[in-house]
């Protein structure tokens, strides 16, 4: 079978579970992410998206189950996993008193790369995220969109094969959001596999090849957008589906999630 017909699996998640104070946040979920694809994890607040991504990023240790990233276990090969992943947290996880360049150099230095490699990668990424003319400004002087772009760049310093992005467009204006979509598209073009969590339907529709909808710690539906919409037609009494949002509401309910 050709590689194109059956893409390699980069991340294989098996029965992953995590509880906090005996309250289950993620209940034995399993899914696979193909190499080079953008995988969207969609769900309302408290669905378990961030806990899942935290476990895959080795920030949290699973209570049970495992996840293999490029064949390396998050349980047993934690350091090896850390070396090949990139993580873009929901927060602007940057040092606001440092400049964009200083931030990237610091995060790059953690991967034991040479000074020259770090400098080159820093320049490359500053250009990539459109901040090469803002290198002397401190991050606290940046706009929300600039901070978000730098937040993404910091996750790319080690040229990760697997980039995890936890709601990377929260709190920014539509122009900046469009800019970030474009940026993510270019990251994907470079062959990076992306795990993307969000509760914005439009961006998941736009960016993701495969989508998993999570609620109450479990994956309640997954597949390509087309597959999910077909699923909607088959399993729910809704005529003429208008899109992912309608399916999302139908699957997760319309009650508030605070």
């Amino acid at each position: 079978m050709s590689k194109k017909a059956e893409p390699q699996i980069l991340a294989r998640v098996s029965s992953l579970a995590k509880s906090f104070n005996h309250v289950p946040a993620v209940k034995s979920i399993s899914f696979e992410i193909k190499r080079g694809e953008t995988f969207g994890l969609l769900g309302p607040n408290g669905a378990g998206k961030t806990t899942t991504i935290n476990m895959l990023a080795t920030y949290l240790r699973p209570d049970s189950g495992d996840a293999l990233i490029d064949g390396k276990s998050v349980n047993t090969d934690e350091l090896e996993v850390k070396k090949i992943i990139g993580f873009v947290p929901q927060e602007i996880a940057l040092y606001s008193d440092l400049t964009a360049r200083e931030n990237l150099i610091f995060f790059g230095s953690i991967y034991s790369q040479s000074k020259t490699v770090i400098q080159e990668r820093t320049d490359e990424l500053l250009e990539f995220v459109g901040l090469k003319d803002e290198t002397k400004k401190r991050v606290k002087q940046f706009s929300g969109g600039m901070k978000r772009r730098l937040n993404i760049a910091a996750g790319l310093m080690n040229r990760p094969v697997f980039l995890m992005m936890d709601e990377p467009t929260v709190g920014i204006d539509p122009q900046s959001r469009e800019n970030i979509y474009e940026l993510i598209g270019r990251i994907k073009e470079q062959g990076t596999t992306i795990l993307y969590t969000s509760h914005y339907m439009e961006e998941v529709e736009k960016l993701c090849d495969t989508i998993a909808i999570m609620d109450h710690g479990t994956i309640i539906a997954s597949g390509t957008l087309g597959e999910l919409l077909k699923l909607k037609k088959k399993t729910h009494k809704v005529y003429r589906p208008s899109g992912l949002e309608e399916l999302f509401i139908q699957l997760t309910g319309s009650h508030l999630r605070d």
Binding site: T58, Y59, K82, Q90, D97, E102, I110, R138
Partner: protein
């Protein structure tokens, strides 16, 4: 270790980016040291000052009364005439620290001075009193000196009158000057009036306000600096940078080691700078052992850093840290002797004070700066601070939560 150094470098860069906070941490103690040193030391002069001392005048001649009249003509030192039978009670008052000094004019004051002999005035003092006593001795010294000059002039004239059998003095000015010079030499060797100071206090504390205030406020503001470091750790947690770092190959111990190294360097530098300013501007005597000062400062910065680590481990948010750390610092400073010397506090307070880093550090600094002790003498305090720091570090590191539970 290289990772820890990278975190350290980043921390130093961030700290130096906000120099205002650092400047305040240095400027405030210097400002407060200045105020308290002025306030607690009469030798620095300043506003209206008045002190009253009891005097027993045993002299039946005019000299004693003239001296008392001269004292009465100035505004600062006031006297209360007492009788011989009150002497024992007054001595006890001085010994108990209730009266700053007792002046006794001898019975033979007039006789001695008028016959060219030396009269000895007794000043019984409470040497633990550092605010008024320097003023009393300074004024009395100045008055006695004036009296000695007058005595010199009088004796010169009288002597010349005797030598020339009452002839006119005017044509003989040069000879009078020669005579005066001879008598002045004699007076220099043995002045007519001499004040003998006798300390009556039960113990000599060697108290020096600058040697108290400089280390006291340096430690207090170093604790504030260290708390900023603890806040920086909590900030990494709250702002998500710690989460990001924990998904990288950075070892956890490197994160804390880098942070703590940076906090330690800042705390230690703060002590060094404040002591340097204390020495250069306030005339602080650095004692006989600079290595001892460095050693106690290292131990103090280490222990304070450990306390910061402990707080960062038990406190969950920066909002909580503010009031808790302020309470901790003010409590340690008050109890541990940053604001006043521990020896003036009751014994039970001195015993309790040993639970604070400040008390051990102040004891070490006082030994070096006030009592002229050396490095070997402060080893118990250094040991206590290092032990204290090690215990707090161990608890802090054990309890520190890198991740949400």
């Amino acid at each position: 270790m290289l990772h820890a150094f990278r975190v350290f470098k980043k921390e130093m860069l961030i700290t130096l980016r906000d120099p205002v906070a650092l400047i305040w941490l240095l400027a405030l103690p210097i400002f407060i040291i200045a105020i308290t040193s002025f306030a607690f030391s009469g030798s620095y002069g300043g506003g209206k000052f008045e002190v009253t001392i009891p005097v027993i005048n045993r002299d039946s001649g005019p000299m004693g009364q003239q001296l008392l009249d001269a004292i009465g003509q100035q505004d600062t030192l006031k006297i209360e005439l007492k009788t011989n039978d009150q002497e024992m009670g007054l001595r006890q008052q001085v010994a108990d620290g209730k009266t700053v000094a007792l002046l006794i004019l001898p019975a033979d004051l007039t006789t001695q001075v008028s016959t060219g002999k030396q009269a000895e005035l007794q000043l019984l003092t409470d040497t633990n009193e550092t605010t008024q006593l320097p003023m009393v001795t300074s004024i009395l010294g100045s008055l006695i000196s004036t009296f000695n000059s007058i005595t010199l002039s009088s004796r010169t004239v009288v002597q010349y009158e005797l030598d020339t059998q009452g002839l006119s003095l005017l044509p003989q000015v040069g000879a009078i000057g020669e005579q005066a010079s001879k008598i002045a030499q004699t007076l220099q060797q043995r002045p007519s009036m001499l004040i003998t100071e006798t300390p009556l206090s039960t113990t000599d504390t060697g108290y020096d306000p600058v040697a108290q205030n400089v280390p006291g406020y340096a430690i207090m503001f170093m604790l504030f600096g260290v708390m900023m470091g603890a806040e920086a750790i909590l900030m990494e947690k709250e702002e998500g940078t710690l989460r990001r770092l924990l998904t990288t190959p950075l070892p956890r111990w490197s994160f804390l080691a880098g942070k703590l190294m940076s906090n330690f360097i800042i705390g230690f530098s703060q002590l060094v700078i404040i002591f340097a300013v204390g020495h250069l501007i306030f005339g602080l005597d650095l004692g006989s052992s600079i290595p001892g000062l460095i050693l106690i400062s290292i131990a103090t910065a280490f222990a304070a850093n450990a306390a910061g680590m402990l707080l960062a481990s038990f406190i969950k948010t920066r909002r909580q840290l503010g009031p808790v750390s302020t309470f901790f610092i003010l409590f340690s400073s008050a109890l541990g002797g940053s604001w006043w010397p521990l020896f003036i506090t009751p014994q039970w307070m001195q015993n309790i004070a040993k639970v604070t880093i400040t008390a051990w550090a102040m004891e070490g600094y006082s030994n070096l700066l006030m009592y002229g002790k050396g490095i070997v003498d402060i080893l118990p305090q250094v040991g206590a601070l290092l032990f204290y720091g090690a215990v707090l570090f161990a608890i802090g590191l054990k309890k520190f939560q890198f991740k949400e539970s």
